[in-house]
């Protein structure tokens, strides 16, 4: 992947990220978040993480953001708050962001292991093939393409099968929670 594309997608992700924060209208910020997630998915793909990339688009950009937009529409929050942004929190937030970035930059400055380029970190298909046990993965590796989804699935069910069940339990708890918290009653008064 030529480097110019990386800069393009990085720029998309970051600029739309800022867009989320700056946008007056919650709908605008939701949409800019969607664009930011697509940029991010592209970055994932540039890192040969095709499964995660598609997952990002499907789950995050698709399901989560749609849920956000749905809620925003449901509650029809007024477009513009009208009040000027409170300067104290603005300065505070900015300060935090700048400080954090400086700290990350300083750490990265000293991070020698991070200086290797993506190009000279090629995937060695034959090494993974020799190790792989499933023959579907073996023959796909033989043709030189990375069976990303299959490897991902294999690792999930080989190393962390139990955690999958727990995540299932978590989703169950989440949905039960949502139901409990938003059951509509006949009369809605609050003490």
């Amino acid at each position: 992947m030529p480097s110019v594309l990386f800069y393009l997608f990085a720029a998309i992700t970051l600029l739309f990220g800022v867009g989320v924060v700056v946008a007056r209208n919650p709908v605008a910020s939701a949409l800019s978040l969607v664009c930011s997630f697509t940029g991010l998915a592209a970055l994932f793909i540039s890192l040969d993480a095709y499964f995660i990339g598609t997952l990002q688009i499907l789950v995050y950009a698709g399901a989560v953001m749609v849920l956000f937009l749905f809620i925003i529409m449901l509650l029809d929050i007024k477009a513009v708050e009208g009040r000027p942004t409170n300067y104290a929190t603005a300065v505070g937030g900015l300060l935090l962001a700048v400080l954090f970035t400086i700290q990350i930059a300083m750490v990265l400055g000293g991070f020698k292991e991070g200086r290797i380029a993506l190009a000279d970190q090629p995937l060695k298909m034959e090494a993974t093939a020799s190790k792989a046990t499933l023959n579907t993965i073996k023959d796909e590796l033989a043709e030189g393409t990375l069976p990303d989804a299959k490897l991902m699935g294999f690792t999930l069910f080989d190393k962390y099968p139990f955690q999958l069940q727990v995540v299932g339990l978590l989703l169950l708890a989440g949905t039960v929670g949502v139901v409990v918290l938003s059951k509509r009653d006949r009369k809605e008064e609050v003490s």
Binding site: F111, L169, G174, L181
Partner: protein, 475 residues
């Protein structure tokens, strides 16, 4: 005869069944689900105490069964059992505030979710791997989002829910970012791998320190240690009392077991970042004790007072952790449980009889119910660390750990914190025992509550007088 792994699954399954039972069997008597939950937890506790040591081979890479895990599993079960009893005690208040139907609303989930949370905590206790840690941690956190905001018709509970939600999510973000950097620096997700990387000079120390800092920050939030304890007073006061009890004891204990494992990995002897992590924890401990105990002097609400008290206790435990005395952390947690749960149980029992949880509402309690007044005295004395109560035993061991590591400055601050404790812990006792004019109605205490109070009082005093009980469980 059952292995601890299968007990946890049994509990989770029961939790799910209870949710289903409550959802579908509409005409069921409302007392079935709570008692079923309490029965299941009790059974799980008995099974855990008589567990068989062997665990299935395939879970050994991410499932640790050392004495630390066993203690915290038993601890989680005991906490859940008592919290369920507290919830049962305050049942009609939770129901009244949960929806507009008032007392008749069916709140089966309020008893089912804690079972799931308890199994989540038990999994966290035996997590040997960052992924195995992250997933049950999130299960616990998300379930607590639901529980805190459960009584959504009370504005306080909603506000607490929102605050906990936003700050919880923020801390999860920081936690994952920390895990990412720790993985990046060490190349492995398991605690042994991290410990091995921390020792060999090849790993980039600065990156590992960044990862460690962010990881400790994430876990610090869950435990309520210094810079991240800002959420505790509001959420503990706003949430329904049984949930506050569960948060302040269960969630804090789970946080501490994970924090213990992480700190053990980072400060394994010979590790390049050992001193930095220990000193950072020391600073956090000192700050927590002070930020926990000094503002408590001005509290007039007993529930919020207990929130600040839980911060200061967390401070003592982080201090023990900073001195590498993991046994003392577990012991202190063991002494912290009876006092705090007793306190919250009293608040619920009083709340159901119309006594508010403001300090002035406690006036003349000794006349209205000598048992509750005595229980209050024992609970707050144990929190204050009065000798011959469990609290003192815990504080003494923490002091000895700190002094053996020659951290005299922090010991001095701990003394100031504990001294402030003598004031704000004794104020409710004095109010309860000070006479009040006029006729005061007698308070009724249900048999279940009476038994639990007795058990907790014995727990608080017995551990203070005969601590070998707790020590044998720790071994």
């Amino acid at each position: 005869m059952m292995s601890s792994f299968s007990i946890e699954i049994f509990l989770a399954v029961v939790g799910v069944l209870l949710i289903a039972l409550d959802a579908f069997a509409t005409e069921l008597n409302r007392k079935v689900v709570p008692w079923a939950a309490i029965g299941a937890t009790g059974l799980a506790l008995i099974l855990m105490l008589t567990r068989s040591a062997d665990i299935p081979a395939w879970i050994t890479p991410f499932y640790a069964m050392d004495s630390l895990a066993v203690f915290y599993k038993v601890f989680a079960l005991v906490t859940t059992l008592i919290v369920l009893i507290i919830a049962l005690e305050g049942d009609f208040i939770t129901a009244y505030f949960s929806s507009s139907e008032g007392v008749k609303t069916r709140i089966g989930e309020f008893y089912a979710l804690p079972l799931i949370v308890c199994s989540g905590m038990m999994w966290m206790a035996s997590a040997k791997d960052l992924v195995a840690l992250f997933v049950p941690l999130e299960l616990v956190t998300v379930s607590f989002y639901v529980l805190v905001a459960f009584t959504r018709r009370s504005a306080m509970s909603l506000e607490a829910g929102v605050k906990y939600l936003i700050l919880g999510a923020l801390s999860t973000g920081v936690l994952v970012f920390g895990i990412a950097w720790v993985y990046g620096a060490t190349g492995s997700l398991s605690f042994e791998g991290i410990a091995a990387a921390a020792v060999n000079p090849a790993t980039n120390a600065v990156a590992l320190m960044l990862g460690a800092a962010l990881l400790l920050a994430g876990l610090g939030f869950k435990v309520g240690a210094a810079p991240f304890q800002i959420w505790i007073p509001d959420v503990y006061q706003g949430a329904p009392t049984p949930v506050t009890a569960f948060l302040s004891v269960g969630s804090k204990a789970a946080g501490f077991v994970v924090l213990t494992r992480a700190v053990q990995a980072f400060t394994v002897n010979g590790s390049h970042i050992g001193t930095q992590v220990a000193n950072a924890l020391l600073a956090a401990a000192a700050l927590t004790i002070l930020l926990g105990s000094l503002p408590a002097i001005f509290q007039t609400n007993v529930k919020r007072l207990m929130a600040y008290s839980s911060i200061s206790h967390a401070g003592f435990m982080v201090l023990a952790l900073a001195c590498g005395a993991t046994g003392t952390v577990a012991f202190y947690m063991g002494t912290y449980l009876p006092a705090t749960l007793l306190g919250f149980l009293l608040l619920v029992v009083l709340r159901t009889q119309g006594v508010g949880d403001e300090l002035k509402d406690l006036a003349g309690l000794s006349k209205r119910s000598p048992l509750l007044a005595f229980a209050l005295a024992v609970a707050f004395a144990s929190m204050a660390g009065l000798p011959l109560t469990a609290g003192f035993m815990g504080k003494l061991l923490v002091f000895m750990a700190a002094i053996s590591k020659a951290h005299y400055g922090v010991v001095a601050l701990a003394v100031i914190g504990a001294a402030a404790g003598f004031y704000y812990y004794f104020r409710p006792i004095l109010t309860a025992y000070s006479p009040v004019e006029g006729e005061s109605t007698k308070l009724q205490v249900s048999p279940v509550a009476r038994v639990t109070i007795a058990v907790l009082i014995v727990g608080a005093v017995a551990v203070g007088v005969y601590p070998k009980l707790l020590q044998s469980v720790l071994k």
